[in-house]
Symmetry: C2
Subunit: 203 residues, 2 copies
């Protein structure tokens, strides 16, 4: 063997990312290993280290694609809707649907702690910011006289909230007898928060 060049560097990269997505999707983050990825794409482990820094790097790249897909799905969810409040509800339901459709891949985004330095690259942070920007955009029309800073804070509080409900559900820690559906809990959070935020009950 050696010197095959069956695939370009970019092709190998793409194959590896897809392989990780399939592996994690089916077996979860814990079931992932560099050797399994290599086997899945028909190369040796060593080859993976020519294309990626290490396994952490590979995971960050996959998480980036997951965030892109999530952002796209959330954008599509608000596309047609006219009512301001309904747009936020739809955004929330879209987030939940994403987490439920591929829980393992979604979980990996938040399970993964950065290797040493503790800081994710700027281009990655930007993808996270883009998600919050969508929430802020939906929040703006109903925010009245709130400052941009207050809207940014509300978006983070609200989305942290929706996210936390999903996490507790996925890890089986809602601790009830199952009466609480995730969409219902998120709706409760959104409605009550927005009532408070906009003061809509006292016009």
């Amino acid at each position: 063997m050696a010197r095959r060049s069956d695939h370009s560097r970019d092709e190998i990269r793409e194959m590896a990312l897809s392989a990780v997505e399939e592996l994690v999707s089916k077996k979860g983050y814990e079931g992932l290993s560099a050797r399994k990825v290599a086997a899945a794409i028909g190369y040796t482990v060593g080859t993976l280290y020519l294309v990626f820094e290490n396994l952490d790097d590979l995971v960050v790249q996959v998480n980036a694609r997951t965030l892109d897909r999530l952002n796209l799905q959330m954008m599509e969810a608000v596309g047609e809707i006219g009512d301001d409040r309904q747009r936020l509800m739809s955004l929330g339901q879209s987030y939940i649907r994403f987490a439920e459709e591929d829980p393992h891949l979604w979980e990996m985004v938040f399970k993964h702690r950065v290797p040493r330095n503790g800081q994710l690259p700027a281009w990655y942070q930007e993808k996270v910011s883009r998600m919050f920007a969508q929430v802020e955009r939906c929040l703006k029309p109903i925010a009245g006289h709130k400052t941009p800073g207050e809207i940014a804070q509300a978006a983070r509080a609200l989305w942290g909230g929706v996210h936390g409900i999903c996490i507790l559900a996925v890890t089986g820690k809602l601790g009830g007898v199952g009466v609480e559906s995730v969409p219902d809990l998120a709706e409760s959070l959104l409605i009550n928060y927005l009532d408070g935020f906009t003061g809509s009950r006292n016009p």
Copy 2:
């Protein structure tokens, strides 16, 4: 060697749990290994498997202790306070303080997915329920005519929310320039939700 009996089974159990707490607290969940735990308590790996089912079991036992400490701290936080709303704020701040004081140990509770069956033992679930019960108890006096079901739902939505904010902060995914402090975000969430929940702005 062999047949030392320096320690009873329960003593070994206690030593192992403490060793895990110290390891995870310092190096995080990823830095944990059965071999390191064994070395820390001066026994062989094999001994660990006489006391615990496997590493997953050991983690669940430690998580149980973490939940107990969290429940205790939350109980103490509301002890003296008279004002209903302030009690809930204090409960939230107490949760955040716990997560910030030992992020790795707190994270492990929610990072850990159950081994095969996907179901945590009942005595463990009970500890989670006890936490929600504390929130419900604080919620009750300000809930007006809400049903117990509605209060249970509110407790889960609210605490999922506080939890999500902590997770995003700890994993560095709040995506801002750091203006948003976790206590501020949680306060925003609690105040606005409670305003909506109680309809307090239109008496």
